[in-house]
């Protein structure tokens, strides 16, 4: 494992953490903890194996620990906290806010799978390894997450009539 490879994964780790955790400073804390643990365990990474899946797995475990402890929220001295949130710039801002809220409203285990599938475009098998769950569980969480999100957005009558291009 070298720092260049790690650096290359950094934007994706941040993207996932931001959507999973919600706030910027908390998400970056999680990414930082992930990088630190990755270095501590660098010996466990097998060269040639998928670094991204390994890192997402580390992040997942840290997040689980975090949620278990679930102590008082730590206030972070993040000087960037006051930056304008950079979220989607295209499309209807209300749509984006609705999606953001609906995503945040999902149980975290469903949100995690949905993000790994839709945003990180990981294979179901890789997700199962990263999260340490059977593929069947990946599928059921994906299914429940997608349906919940669909209903939440359709409930508002706000589904964007995009043409499906696959």
């Amino acid at each position: 494992m070298d720092s260049h490879a790690l650096l290359a994964e950094l934007p994706r780790l941040r993207r996932y953490a931001r959507a999973l955790v919600g706030d910027r400073a908390g998400a970056d804390d999680l990414v930082q903890d992930t990088l630190e643990r990755a270095w501590l365990r660098a010996g466990q990474w097998r060269p040639g194996s998928d670094l991204r899946a390994w890192l997402f797995g580390i992040m997942h475990n840290l997040r689980i620990d975090q949620l278990r402890r679930s102590g008082p929220v730590q206030l972070s001295l993040d000087e960037e906290e006051h930056d304008v949130a950079t979220r989607a710039t295209q499309g209807d801002a209300l749509e984006v806010m609705a999606l953001d809220r609906a995503l945040a409203g999902l149980p975290e285990e469903q949100r995690a799978v949905l993000l790994l599938v839709a945003v990180e475009e990981m294979s179901y098998a890789d997700i199962a390894v990263a999260l340490g769950i059977p593929v069947g569980t990946v599928m059921s969480r994906l299914s429940r997450g997608r349906e919940r999100l669909r209903q939440a957005l359709e409930g508002r009558g706000a589904a964007t009539p995009l043409r499906v291009v696959i």
């Binding site: 990088l35 950079t86 979220r87 599938v117 945003v119 997608r146 669909r150």
Partner: protein, 272 residues
């Protein structure tokens, strides 16, 4: 029409492009005749694009310094010597001290003389922090290794604006590992690192920021597990740090002091 019934998982796999071409065609045939499934698949695909649009802007953000630093195999991380929180605390202390210095300077300029020297980070504290940050680093304890000592000396002398050279401590069992450049209170400082046969590390911190200070005798400070001997000689401030007993460190400090005093290029050998 598909011979094998299409199940829920396959609808997801269709959206995610995880089907074989043959099965994909069969699912498409299924969707053509099952409006409910087709509507769900369409909604999921829309959702997938919307989620990417929602999350992707994070990729364009500049990466925060702290994450860039954490991605590099740097200080204190490998041995688990310092946690993130303790490093942050040290950084915060330094930051507050620097802010104090700036505020003191501004106050000095505008209103009244301010105790600037008191508010900058004291030499032994700077040296001890630099010691605990870099000495546990297994992979990259120094920027330039002792094998390139000439380059190290040239580089550090140039950056500090005055000749600096690592003393030889082989007689005491300490060999040079190398050195690095660090930020001091107002400019660059140098750190030389040594180790003995057992791997015990020792750092010599060399600052050239002491224009207003007078020479001092040896002084001793303890910063947590690190013992520090320090002294000021003209513009130079020296601090020798290690996690070894005071008596042993004193012997090394004496040797360093003697060598530095007798250095041939000392611009003012009579000064005492």
């Amino acid at each position: 029409m598909s011979a094998i019934p299409v199940n829920e998982n396959e609808l997801h796999a269709y959206v995610d492009g995880a089907l074989t071409a043959a099965r994909r065609a069969e699912v498409e045939a299924h969707l053509a005749t099952h409006a409910d499934d087709a509507a769900r698949v369409a909604a999921w695909s829309t959702q997938k694009q919307a989620l990417r649009a929602l999350c992707n802007p994070v990729l364009e953000e500049p990466l925060p310094e702290r994450l860039l630093a954490a991605a590099a195999p740097a200080a204190g991380r490998r041995g688990g010597f310092l946690s993130r929180w303790s490093l942050e605390r040290i950084a915060a202390t330094l930051f507050v001290a620097v802010l104090g210095g700036v505020a003191g300077w501004l106050g000095h300029a505008r209103y009244q003389p301010a105790p600037l020297a008191v508010q900058t980070v004291p030499l032994p504290r700077q040296a001890a922090v630099a010691h605990v940050v870099f000495s546990p680093d297994v992979r990259r304890p120094v920027e330039v290794r002792a094998e390139q000592e000439d380059q190290l000396v040239t580089w550090l002398s140039k950056r500090l604006g005055t000749p600096v050279r690592p003393p030889r401590l082989g007689a005491l069992g300490y060999e040079l590992i190398g050195g690095r450049l660090l930020p001091g209170n107002s400019g660059p400082v140098a750190q030389f690192m040594y180790h003995d046969a057992s791997g015990q590390r020792l750092t010599l911190y060399v600052s050239t920021e002491n224009a207003t200070h007078r020479d001092t005798a040896f002084r001793f400070a303890q910063e947590g597990p690190v013992n520090v001997f320090y002294w000021v000689d003209g513009t130079f401030g020296y601090a020798l740090s290690a996690g070894i007993p005071k008596g042993e460190l004193a012997k090394v400090a004496t040797a360093v002091y003697d060598q530095l005093e007798n250095k041939p290029d000392n611009p003012n050998p009579d000064r005492k």
